[in-house]
Each structure stands twice: as C-alpha cells, then as structure tokens.
Symmetry: C2
Subunit: 332 residues, 2 copies
DNA sequence: CTGAAAGCGCTAACAG
DNA sequence: CTGTTAGCGCTTTCAG
C-alpha cells in the first residue's frame, strides 16, 4: 500500500506538500498540486485512517450499544443513528448485549477512549455502579429510558406519559379490565410504563388491577407476548384490553388471542409500543405509541457530537415527541 | 489517559516489561509482574487500540454493508454477523446503502485497507466495474445473491432452487394462476428468484404467466407489496397464488388482499422469503423460504477471517441450507 | 528475563 | 508556499 512518503517521492515534493493537498489545506503551488495529484492517482494512495487518527486524537467511530439488532425497533433506531452519524463523518460500530448486564458492562468497559469518539448506549440491565466502577472519558449518551442515577446525557421519550396516554385510550373505549404485558423489574422502560399504567387507572377511578393482570416478560419477543396472553386468557376473569410494552409482544399477544377464538379488538383490545413498520400492516393493524425514531437517533448523535467537541455544559435530558397511532386493534 | 510509559514509570520498569504483561507475553519476573499490575490498576490503564493496530497492521474492525437495518432480515443478519465476529475479536462497523448504487460504490471506495480488516457486503445495485475501478486489498465476501462477475468469495443460498421450491409448493396446492411480487432488474436476488419461478412453472407444464403477473417492486417494504397486490387483484384474471420475494412484501400483500375482501389462503395463497421472526406470528402466519441466517452470517465471517489471515486459495462459493416453512398462508 | 531504540503512517509546529 | 522534524502510543528487534 502506498504511503504519503511514496507519493511524495514520486511527485518530487515533501510529505508536507502531499499532506496539504490530500487534506485540502493552505495554498499549494499549482504545478506542485498537479504533480501530487498525478502521483496520487498513479499510486492509488489511500490515507491510513489509523495513523491519521492516532495523530489527530480522534478515531472517526462512535459506538452504538443495543440489546439486539433483530428487534425491529432497534434495527430502525440503528439505521437512524448511522444516517445521523454520517453528517459528522462518523462510522458506527454496533455492539449487542441481549439486554444482559454482563455484556452491557463489558461493552462499557471496552469503550477505550482511543477506540471511539463517543458512544450511544441503550442499557437494559446495567446498574449505576457499572458506570462508576469503570469511568471513561468517552462522551456517552443514554438512549431510551433507564432508572440509572448517573450524570450522563439522556435522550428519550416520556415513557410514563406515553403509557398513560395508551391506557387512557383503552379506558376511553370503555374497557375496564386492562392488563399489561412486559413487566420486568430490571428494565427501566418497563418500570416507567408500568407507572404510567397505574396512574391512568387511578386517574379514571378504576380499581387496582388483580396481580395476574401485570404480566411479566423476560424478553420482548413475539413468543413472550403470546405466552403472556395465554396466561391472561386463562384467568378467571380475563382482561378486555391489554397494553403491551412493545410491538412484538403485542403481535404475539394478538396471535395468541386469535388462536383461542378471541377477537381483537372486539373481545380484547391491544395497544403496543414503538410503532415498528409492521404494525401498520398487520391484521389487525396495531394501535401503538409512536416515538419519533429519526429524531431520537439524531438528537443522540448531536449530543455526543457536542460533547466530543468539548462541550462541558450541564447534563442534558432531551425529550423527543411521540404520538398515539390509533389503528384497528383498538377500533371496536 | 494513562499510557504505557506512565505505567512503566510508576512501576519502575521499562515499557517493554509493561507491554509484556499487558499482552501476556513471555515470562516476566514475578515481582515485576506484581509491580506492573499494581501500576496498571492504579492508573486505570487502557491500551490505545489505534496505536496498537497501527503497529500490528490490523484494525480490529470489519465492515458490514447492508441496504437497511430497518429491514428485519438485515437486522437479524447483522446481529448474527456481530456475534460471529466477536469470536475473532472483531467489532463490526455497519454502513447502509439503501440498495442504491452510489452509496454502495462510495462505501466500497471508502474501505481503506487501514480502516478495516475485512468487509462483508450485500450489494444490490453495484456493477462489476465498481469493483474493478476501485480495487482494494481488503478481504471481502459477498453476502446474498448477486449477478456480478467478480472474483470475490460468496456466501448465500441457492436462490433459483429456493424459488423453485416455493412455487412448486403453490403448484402442489393446485394453484395455477401464480404471480410474483418483487421483480427488479437491478437486484441479483430478484433475477434469480424470477428464474426459479419460471422454471417451476415450466416443470409443471403450466403456461407462461401473463405479463401483469410479474409485479415489480422498487423497494422491498410492506407498502410495495401492498401496492403490487392491489394491481394484481385489479387484473381481469387475478392470480390465485403469489410468491413474494421477501416477507415484508408478502405481509403487505396479505393485508392488501384482506382489505379487498380477499381471503388468504382460500382465495389467494401467499409465500414469502426470509422467514423473519414476524412471519411465524402474523395472521395468517406466513409460509416462507427460511435460510439459515445464523449459518449465513457465520460462514461470511469465517471466510473473511481466513482471507485476512493470508488464505489465498481459489475463490469460494459457499451454499447455505434453507427450508420451506409451510404455514397458514398456504394451508387451504 | 528486561532495557533501549526504532519506527508503523500521519500531522503540525517551525523554520525557511 | 514548502521542507524538516518531532512525536501520537504501541510493539518489536536487538542487545544485554
């Protein structure tokens, strides 16, 4: 592979001059520029990014830590992050944690300051001390909700309020036996959505739900939603509405209901969370909380970018808007 | 940030010794090792990956180029690649191209040899000359089908055969008016699946389909499938079965059919391609070609790994197994 | 077993 | 406007 020096020799100038034209710096004598460009083309020179970064003290990468790319919500989010990062000449390095604490902590620890210029993380099981034990000076932003008490920038939506609106919608439909699917004490998002649920119930003067109505889910895949729905329908008094903590749970729940001859929305209304692409086209289409994912991704990238450029102002908490998309799964 | 030198000074030894214990090399005098470890802990030393790689001539990254992470198939695939890459201490850098030639070519050109140790690419619109114009010595493997005549390792499934099996299944069901959705001359996969379709029809002695039965799709999202199905159903003689070139097209098509009072599978049977997680839980669940995605990802990573380690044997073409998952969308 | 010193490819002072 | 030179932090001969 050709180096700067090779090009310089071939062009009969110094490396500095070559470096100058490569980087578009200062003014280079036209004739030299021409010679350099020829040499550049002749050698097929490509800068060694590693060496350049070592010198400049930046790496050109940011890390994105998510539970699983196979969850459409995170796939969509990751796509948005990659797009937003490009605006700052960043490439995105993606790590998966499966929402487990150990991989999350390990990823955090591996974020050497010379590996990435910043990181966007969506932890699900991380504890506060995982941060303090391994302090790093890589600018980080938390994407999505969390129950961590750490001085780190955060961008997300108001989960409590979103859950309240979702449940309120169900109440407005006249449903009174409302269950949730996705309870998981180790997930910050779940805790907040559960709080919103309780608050909506209380606001409407509805009685506290029986314990069986708070259905847990270890993971947030279709299968978990289906299993939860099966348990819900086996209850002595099954719910007439279910608020699922993500769309996959909801789709799994809808199918489980259908398999048991239970019509959605007539017998049971279902609301999801995330508004993944599929939810607009499923049968029935899914009513769901729709966060502005592109805005979420963009805000996160902008925040790390500011921090990476030396912004040391107070910790920020950015709230991104969301809407409730009403569709067939609650239209009856 | 602490450097090797800092640690060495604190421990009262040379950088070599510190480097040795950090890398687990050779035998270090126990006492020195102890001192070094203490200094390591005290300073919170983390190696500068950039510098190390500059020296070692490897970067620790591989690039993965896909159309869109928001397409569940690629989300699942990318997840598999990240997992497989970890086994070789690689982090994965993901680039999106939206299936467009310019971003694809640009990504290819940016693959400086010092940026990544290898690349796994799923091009959709790239031309042969985009490769030859920008030769790079980064080991690459093509993931998925393509119609490129380039000497590059390839891993994929037998698309022609898969399509043939899918269509054959429809024929076995007694369907005779079989359409396809997803035709797109610039996509290698589409061309191959179309060939399989024609071949299955011919094998069964069925007449060549009317031109309207080959429904094009610019993109492979739900919306495109829905639009194609709408057109198909408006035909004077609508099909009684549709083979869609991916699951999202299929789900979009199913919904469009339902919206027009057309029952799947009774009035029209639908087969998809990719077996994304959703297809097992949709209503109706979707019959689809199921490639072994984990194997696909793993084979691709292994291949770049071998090449990155100097394997210069002949260009390989790895075929990964697939199955036909028969579900409700064709069970009638 | 360990220290000194060279140098990976590049950029940024600093002189000219 | 351009050449020289000193490192960025690390690994690695090469001597001890």
């Amino acid at each position: 592979m050709a180096t700067l020096k090779d090009v310089a020799e071939l062009a009969g100038v110094s490396v500095k001059t070559v470096s100058n034209v490569v980087n578009g710096y200062s003014f280079v004598k036209p004739e030299n520029e021409r010679k350099v460009r020829e040499a550049l083309a002749a050698t097929g020179y490509k800068p060694n990014v590693g060496a350049r970064n070592l010198r400049r003290g930046r790496t050109g990468f940011i890390a994105l830590m998510v539970p699983e790319l196979s969850i459409p919500y995170f796939g969509e989010l990751a796509g948005g992050v990659i797009t937003a990062a490009h605006a700052h000449d960043w490439s995105v390095l993606i790590e998966q944690t499966h929402g487990l604490r150990d991989p999350e902590a390990a990823t955090l620890a591996s974020l050497g300051p010379h590996m990435v210029d910043g990181a966007i993380i969506s932890p699900e099981a991380l504890h506060t001390q995982d941060f303090t034990r391994n302090p790093t000076d890589v600018p980080m932003v938390l994407l999505g909700e969390h129950s961590l008490d750490v001085p780190i920038d955060h961008v997300g939506i108001d989960n409590v309020q979103a859950a309240r609106i979702a449940v309120r919608h169900l109440i407005d439909l006249g449903r009174t036996r409302i269950a949730v699917v996705g309870q998981n004490p180790s997930r910050g998002t779940a805790t907040q959505r559960l709080a919103g649920y309780h608050s909506a119930l209380a606001d409407a003067g509805l009685p506290a739900p029986p314990p069986g109505y708070i259905a847990p889910a270890a993971h947030y895949h279709h299968r978990d939603g289906a299993e939860a729905m099966a348990r819900l329908l086996a209850l002595p008094e099954p719910p007439d509405a279910v608020f699922c903590f993500n769309d996959m749970l909801a789709h799994g729940a809808v199918r489980a209901a259908a398999e048991r001859g239970c019509n959605v929305p007539r017998d049971i209304a279902v609301v999801g969370f995330d508004n993944t692409e599929h939810s607009k086209y499923s049968l029935p289409s899914l009513t769901t909380i729709a966060p502005d994912k592109a805005a979420l991704a963009k805000a996160a990238v902008e925040l790390v970018h500011q921090r990476a450029n030396g912004d040391v102002s107070a910790v920020r908490d950015v709230q991104i808007p969301f809407t409730l998309q009403v569709r067939e799964s609650t239209s009856g």
